[in-house]
Symmetry: C2
Subunit: 129 residues, 2 copies
């Protein structure tokens, strides 16, 4: 997947305006204990989702939505989340990670490279080709 980099297909002249400026999806999928891939819920995704929702509200971020999502299929690198429309993925393990993503990426429109998933973070068996 590393060489594939499409332009965003948004038709800004005719599509309705974005409903949320920042739409953040946190994987809260849970697999049975002992599953070889694990799951984001087993890695703490639900508590991090709850914290992120509460913090975003406390910070007064407008036009930002934090949602739960089903399995995002990057389980091995979770707890996984993705921020749209930019399509940037993160792994967060702690509340401090969440705080940094909210402050640096969501509020300040920057990036948190140390937590970002990249095209190199490919689950076993999901390699291209």
């Amino acid at each position: 997947m590393a060489d594939y980099h499409p332009a965003v297909s948004r038709e800004t002249e005719t599509d309705p305006p974005l409903w949320f400026d920042v739409h953040l999806f946190v994987c809260t999928n849970r697999r049975p204990d002992g599953h070889r891939r694990g799951s984001c819920a087993a890695r703490g995704g639900e508590a991090l989702r709850d914290y992120m929702k509460a913090r975003a509200k406390e910070m007064g971020l407008k036009r930002v939505r934090v949602n739960s999502a089903g399995c995002l299929d990057r389980c091995e690198f979770g707890p996984a989340m993705v921020i749209y429309p930019e399509g940037v993925w993160y792994r967060a393990d702690t509340r401090e990670d969440i705080d940094e993503i909210l402050a640096t990426h969501v509020r300040d429109k920057g990036r948190v490279p140390r937590l970002m998933l990249t095209e190199k973070d490919v689950p076993p068996g999901k390699e291209k080709g």
Copy 2:
């Protein structure tokens, strides 16, 4: 919100490539029966999500992911879904609606205006200002 139309903030030079070209989130939130806002699950969101996942697979669509999501907060217009990175929202009521969204929007990169939610579809009490 109608006058607000930001550019997509994707930094295509430095952000990792999109992991999914089309990432579709179907609201499957369920509220108790009789809630004034209703909910997408009560309107059939779960069955439509299941059908959409299966149809996307049957159609052989690559780099497309259909996920469940928690409450997208446009309950009154549900079953609601949103497609990223373009951030276009739809309401689907039937399997035929799902087929049309998959064929026209996801596969052919078009739009299905008759099913699209716009900036005019504002839940009561959520009006701007």
